[in-house]
Symmetry: C2
Subunit: 203 residues, 2 copies
Amino acid sequence: MECGLLIVLSGPSGAGKGTICKELCERNKQYRLSISVTTRKPRKGEVDGKNYFFKDLEQFQKMVEENQLLEWAKVYDNYYGTPREYVEKSLKEGYDVILEIDIQGALKVKEKFPEGVFIFILPPSMEELKKRIINRGTETEEEIMKRFKSAYDELNYISKYNYVVVNDDVEEAIKKIESIIIAEKCRVDRNKEYYLNIREGLV
Amino acid sequence: MECGLLIVLSGPSGAGKGTICKELCERNKQYRLSISVTTRKPRKGEVDGKNYFFKDLEQFQKMVEENQLLEWAKVYDNYYGTPREYVEKSLKEGYDVILEIDIQGALKVKEKFPEGVFIFILPPSMEELKKRIINRGTETEEEIMKRFKSAYDELNYISKYNYVVVNDDVEEAIKKIESIIIAEKCRVDRNKEYYLNIREGLV
């Protein structure tokens, strides 16, 4: 079976990454969302092993020490990480693994998986982003300002990514990401073996 | 208006480029097929200014001298070329221009348009390719052998292309090319201006 692609999605809070990832995975059975490990407390409705693997600080530190995390970071007083085994196993099974992580995490993953596909999700405008962060209603005013400032700073990292998708329309954004995944599988770099085989009459 | 992309499609005779190009342009109004200039005689049903711009040798040479051709080549005793003006005008008008040309031509275009998207169409197997060339029935036996040998040699050039699309199913091949075009428009390299503007609040 052919190995899947690792798709890394980042972008400022409020760009709409969560909705996009959820829809992508619901519509495409060959996509599998990576599940993060976190030390933060579950929010209402979040399920362990589905939304996150919830761990306490001691368990998390053990995973770090045993090199079980592809990347990890402290964000807003909590630790988050990507379990290496779950990602690698899914890729080998042929799934395209979608990793929704912040920029620090994405850059660390890029070091270990340069063959991954790095997609930056942009809000249609900074004005719209501010609205979306405020409308969420789950953040304190201080957190809103912190997130908005972060969003600005994060734009500097777009050039580290392969693709940028503007989320002014969720359907369009999803179609673009699906197209990126199809296109990446056609890249010559990823198909050397196939076309050498066809030349030798092995296909 | 945003500039279109130049999409260059090549691949051995019998890989199915013609059908794919025709379908792509019929289904996508923003795609426009580039029209070649040729000195070969029109085949039955071919229309000047639609299938080709048919020119005599003298007119063709004049276009070469006046640098009106993006590339030109002699293939099977006839001259073929790509009129620069038609391509550049279409791109500026926002069309994605599809150029179906042989490999020599594609490589010359790549020198002048490195930002083009270069797609190699492969037959599902060399066995299948042979069948297709024979079933065409429009070639002499000598021509069939010549084309088949060319097809083998041409496989060496795949690495000069960005993408490879295996045409084992026309619908799938078309979907892949449409996806490649959508994906290419999302590439970070092609969107620097946009994300600089969004940062400055200009979008």
